[in-house]
Symmetry: C2
Subunit: 234 residues, 2 copies
DNA sequence: CTATAACTATGTTTTAAAACATACAAAGTT
DNA sequence: AACTTTGTATGTTTTAAAACATAGTTATAG
C-alpha cells in the first residue's frame, strides 16, 4: 500500500510485470534494448489531448493525473494512475489522437516502448495481448461504473466515493489512515464532478461528521463505513 | 445506413468481419462448427448485470440496448449497439460478472462463441486479438467522451448530442431525415442522463425551434447544424 | 370491448448545485 | 519586507433540473 517503493531504487522496465513477465527470454532481451526511460517531475505534461501517441507508455513509479477538458475550461479527471501500469494506450491502439491529457502528480519514471516495438512483441506474444485486453476491460469497467456515479449521485455521495476510490488506488500511508495522495481541492472537485467550492464545503461537513480530518491537502479517513454509507445513499 | 439488411436474409457468423475475416480457412472452419446462433425478439434479455459471461456474443443483426441500473432504479443506457459487433465482451475478458444488462430493442440474431473456443482462436490468431483491442479502444474512447458530456453539458446539449450519437449509430431511414431508431421518451432520457419529463419537454422545444419533428417515437431531424450547435454550446 | 397499464404531455413547486462575492492564509517572487 | 499569486473557506444569490401533480393518449390484456 505504501508509496515508498520508488524511493528505494529506481524501477526498470522489468518492474512492469504485465509487460515483461509474459515475454520469452528472447523477447525480454529485445525489449530491454528497445525502450527508453523517461523521468518526469511534478506538473510536467506527459502527453496532451490532440497529440498523436508514439508508443506504449508504462508507469514505473510515480503518480499521474489523466484528465479531459470539458465545457468552459472545466476539467474532468478521468483517472488517477500509478505504477506499474499503462497510460495513453487507448489512443495508440485506436489509431487516434489522445482524447485526454496526462500530467505528473508525483515524480515519475516512465518507460516508452515505440509503436513498432510493442506491435512486434504483440504479434509474437499472445499473453501480452491478453494482458493489454485485460487492462482495457478493467478500465472500461471502471469508466462505466464512474459514469453512473458521477451523473446520478449527489455531491456528498460523489465526494465520498471519490475518496474511497483514491484509497483503493493509492492506499494509506504507514499510519493506516492518511490517504496516499495529496490532491488540491480543485483536483478533488475535478475528480468528483463538482466545483471547488462544493468540494471544500462538503469536505468540511465530512470533518464535522467525524468521517475524516483535513490538514491542508492531507486527508485522514477516520470512518470508512460512514463514507461507504454516504457513497451508497448520497 | 439503412436497417433493411437484416430483413433480406438472415446473417451468419461470416457477417462479423472483425471476427471472421481475420481467421485462416482452418480457423474459420473450426468457428463455423463451434458456435451457436441465437434469435431474440423485442424486449428479451440477452444478459443481466451480475451474471457470468459464458462466451463472446456477436450481434449479426438487430438493435440492442445496454444499460446499468443506477441509484433509485434510474437506469443509465451506456450503449446502443447494432451489428456487426461484440457485446458483453468486457466482462468476459475482465473475468468478471456483467456490470450492465443487454436487452433486445429490435429482433436480433446473435452468435455465441463459447469462452474456450474464442480463447483458442485468440491464442492462435493475433489479428483477432488486435480487432478485439480495437473494439475496446473505441468503446473506451466513447465512454470517456460521453462521461464529460453527460456530467457537464446542460439538458439541451445532452439531448442534442444523444440524438446526433443515435444518428451516427443507426443512421437515417430512406428519407434521409427519420432517425433509424425508435426510442421511448424514457429510453431517450436514460441515454441522456435526464428524467423522462425533461426529455419530453426538451424535445418539444426542439420541435418549436424547428430542429426536428416528432410523431410518437418517430423523430425526423430537420436541422443537423442547429443540433450540433446546441450540443456544443448547451 | 372494456379495463388497465404504459407512455406522452405540460404546468407547478422544490431543491440541489452552480455562480458569484469576499476574505484570509500560505507560498513564491522581486 | 512588500507584493503577487494560488489555494482554501464561507456566505449569498441564482438557476437548472428534479420532483410532484394531473391529464390525455395509446397500447395491451383479460
Amino acid at each position: 500500500m505504501g508509496t515508498k517503493k520508488g524511493t528505494l531504487r529506481e524501477p526498470t522496465i522489468k518492474d512492469i510485470p504485465q509487460l515483461f513477465n509474459v515475454l520469452t527470454p528472447e523477447e525480454q532481451k529485445y525489449l530491454l534494448t528497445n525502450h527508453t526511460t523517461l523521468r518526469y517531475r511534478k506538473n510536467q505534461i506527459i502527453y496532451q489531448e490532440g497529440e498523436r501517441p508514439t508508443g506504449l507508455l508504462c508507469i514505473g513509479s510515480g503518480k499521474v493525473k489523466i484528465y479531459k477538458e470539458g465545457m468552459m475550461g472545466r476539467d474532468q479527471i478521468v483517472r488517477m494512475a500509478s505504477g506499474p501500469g499503462f497510460i495513453g494506450y487507448r489512443a495508440l491502439f485506436a489509431h487516434e489522437t489522445h482524447i485526454a491529457s496526462a500530467v505528473v502528480f508525483e515524480p515519475c519514471v516512465i518507460f516508452h516502448v515505440a509503436r513498432d516495438v510493442i506491435m512486434k512483441l504483440m504479434k509474437s506474444n499472445n499473453d501480452l495481448c491478453m494482458n493489454i485486453i485485460q487492462s482495457f476491460a478493467t478500465e472500461l469497467g471502471f469508466a462505466r461504473f464512474r459514469t453512473v456515479s458521477l451523473t446520478q449521485k449527489h455531491i456528498r455521495g460523489r465526494l465520498a466515493e471519490s475518496l474511497l476510490v483514491l484509497r483503493d488506488i493509492y492506499g494509506y500511508e504507514a499510519d493506516g489512515h492518511t490517504l496516499g495522495i495529496y490532491l488540491s481541492r480543485e483536483d478533488l472537485a475535478n475528480f468528483s464532478n463538482m466545483t471547488a467550492s462544493n468540494a471544500i464545503r462538503t469536505l468540511t461537513t465530512f470533518v464535522k461528521e467525524k468521517a475524516l480530518t483535513v490538514d491542508g491537502r492531507i486527508i485522514r479517513i477516520l470512518d470508512e463505513q460512514k463514507l461507504e454509507r454516504i457513497s451508497r445513499l448520497g
